[in-house]
Amino acid sequence: MASAFGIITTTANRLHVEGLEAHRPAASFSVLGRYRTVDFPVCNMTNSGIERIQVYVNQNPRSLTEHLAGRQYNVNSKTGKIQLLFSEKNTANSIYNTDIAAYSDNINIIKRMHQEYVIIAPGYIVYIQDYKALLDQHIASGAEVTLLYHPVNNADTRYIRQRALTMDESGQVTYMHYNNGGDPDKNIFLDTFVMKKETFLSLIQKAKDYSSSCTLARIVEREAQNGMKVLGVAHEGYFACFSDFNAYHHANLEMINPEVFTQLFKPEWPIYTMTTDSCPTKYFEGAVVRNSMISNACKIEGTVINSVIGRGCHIAKGAYVKDSVILAHVDVDENSVVENEVVDKWAHITANTVVKPAEGTIGYVERDDTI
């Protein structure tokens, strides 16, 4: 499908994940101990035959730059290209730091793309989608813009601050609003757009003319209300949005389930990520591991229950880890307890320590911290 190029977007400060995001953009968040969020949109594109991909980044680019510099993806190294594009203006925490501002900064690169269509997908939502099928559907429907959404029945407690779509009977989008709870039945917008490059360029211009804080979603909603044919298409399968800290913890634990992870990882739809050449994991005498996803290069001597363990972690003898997301290279020393936590990379929980947040909350241990 060389007729489309891809754009992978940032959260543009609309969504914020406490703690984790201080160290890397949401696109670089660890998923299931091994992947980065951005692996999903990139592989959705490459598996759909899209070989020209622009990844936008607006802060802490180190982790994402390093990750995308690898050769892990199935993109032809001559005909394809994954570009990392920066939003040049230093307005990291400003309402003017919109996706439109980032596209404007790189407008000449977008104009030079040869492909007729563009697929715009979020770098912060985990889902599987065949964009070739979506583009075919877009063309067949005669829509000017197609938006991908997922109907849910638990929006009262989850997907907070995510956009939701309202559509009429024909599927025409009439409203987009932020989910602030309330009605559990909503069509959560997966921040995924399909349109012609020309339509995209004209929407960027219209958004700029309208307001310097206008986003692509906002201008699409406005144009839809003015008669532009904007159709919603329902997504099938699992999706997870790291819209806030609790959602990140919840989604990772939710994926420790064959019924869930088999929806994301299919033999015919490989998700590639950067290799670290880590050795397999060693389980010692006395180890107890139940219902968990364990990455390579770990040493497990203690107990791990309902948790995701990243690469190269050491869970010492007598240590007890439950309902937690442990990122790479964390040491949990002897007889320590970690419960309901997200423990960031390279943290060290020293012996006989209890790390457990107040009932009903999720705790966070800083990167490189020693407790």
Binding site: T273, D277, C279, P280, Y283, A287, M293, S295, N296, V304
Partner: protein
């Protein structure tokens, strides 16, 4: 990296017939090892970690799989300018007919033109079927310091086992004075590891002389080393004390895998500064189910464990279903143990399915059971 003065040649043409069905379709060096690796990853990673930039891989038996695997030089970081992994099966030449490699030395002789292209001062000759970590650059320093014509890596073996090996008899300075293949009454316990550093100029002379000798088997141990000794060349032994294992039999392949579980074996793949590199796979992390019981195990990505796994090594994407029991066993990539099945002291080949309730192997068996075909379940 700048161009190294030593080039490596890995002898990877052997079939490994004592591995039976494991090498029915692939050469021994391509056989999986240690959960996610292949045997040939060890010499290739050692080369990369020792700063060797150019590696020739001499293939012959079932070379398609091994050849395409080894040619992917990026796996070991050898795909940058000035580096490369060159797969060298026998080939037809303008001045010679297509000829199989008649022996280990002949494999090098037939590639003299290849080696000369790089004009190395030294050539490292390795086997593609040993599990060990070794700093070849240290061995080269030793070779140079000793002004040797050839240096042979040796390791001390228990005296009673010495008759099984090629033994190097040395003087007190470790100068090799005699080589004996499987001596009945060994005079030394220093066994050759099949790792040689040769000063190229001298080796080339001797290879050319050997190639036209009708009595020669064209073998390093049998012909070349004796030629060095009779010609008065300086041959030195380089003592290696670390872990090393020839994985040429089902039992030794199983044992070497089990050594990964033994903290005293000396085989540790977790050292960050001397990694073994291998092909990257896209499998997800290992899933350990709610009723799983995993102890004393070495498990890699893509595995799904819902049953009991004790003292075993699970390779990429192998599965142990609910109520299944796996003890003292190696599950090669994609092997599946269905629910209720029991597998003890066995080596289960790639993609083999052990059916529901089946029983394979026994705790008191002498030999390791190699299962290369699906085992029917008990319905």
């Amino acid at each position: 990296m700048s161009q190294n003065k030593m080039l490596a040649m890995i002898l990877a043409g052997g079939r490994g017939s004592r591995l039976y069905d494991l090498t029915a379709n692939i050469a021994k060096p391509a056989v999986p090892f240690g959960g996610k690796y292949r045997i040939v990853d060890f010499p290739l990673s050692n080369c990369a970690n020792s700063g060797i930039d150019v590696v020739g891989v001499l293939t012959q038996y079932e070379s398609v799989d091994l050849g395409s695997y080894a040619a992917n030089a990026g796996t070991w970081g050898l795909d940058v300018r000035g580096s490369g992994v060159y797969v060298l099966p026998p080939r037809e030449k303008a001045n010679a007919d297509l000829n199989v490699y008649r022996g280990t030395a002949d494999a090098i002789t037939q590639n003299i033109d290849f080696i000369d292209r790089f004009a190395p001062e030294y050539v490292l000759v390795l086997s593609g079927d040993h599990i060990y970590k070794m700093e070849y650059d240290k061995m080269l320093e030793y070779h140079i310091a000793n002004k040797a014509d050839a240096t042979i890596a040796v390791r001390p073996v228990p005296w009673k086992e010495a008759p099984r090996f090629g033994i190097m008899n040395t003087d007190a300075e470790l100068n090799i004075v005699e080589f004996e293949e499987k001596p009945k009454n060994p005079k030394s316990n220093l066994a050759s590891m099949g790792i040689y550093i040769f000063t190229w100029k001298k080796l080339k002379e001797l290879l050319i002389a050997d190639s036209t000798d009708p009595a020669s088997k064209h073998d390093f141990g049998m012909n070349l080393i004796p030629a060095y000794l009779s010609g008065g060349s300086k041959l030195v032994a380089y003592k290696f004390e670390g872990y090393w294992k020839d994985v040429g039999t089902v039992d030794s392949l199983w044992e070497a895998n089990m050594d990964l579980l033994d903290p005293n074996s000396g085989l540790d793949l977790s050292e960050g500064d001397w990694r073994i590199y291998t092909e990257d796979v896209s499998e997800i992390p290992q899933y350990i189910g709610p009723e799983a019981d995993v102890e004393n195990a070495y498990i890699t990505q893509g595995c799904r464990v819902e049953g009991k796994v004790h003292h075993s090594v699970l390779f990429t994407s192998s599965e142990v279903k609910k109520d299944a029991t796996v003890i003292d066993t190696v599950l090669m990539p994609g092997a599946v143990v269905e629910s209720g099945a029991t597998v003890i002291r066995a080596l289960i080949a790639n993609d083999v399915v052990i059916g529901k309730g089946a029983v394979v192997g026994a705790a008191d068996s002498d030999k390791i059971e190699l299962i290369a075909k699906d085992v029917k379940g008990v319905e």
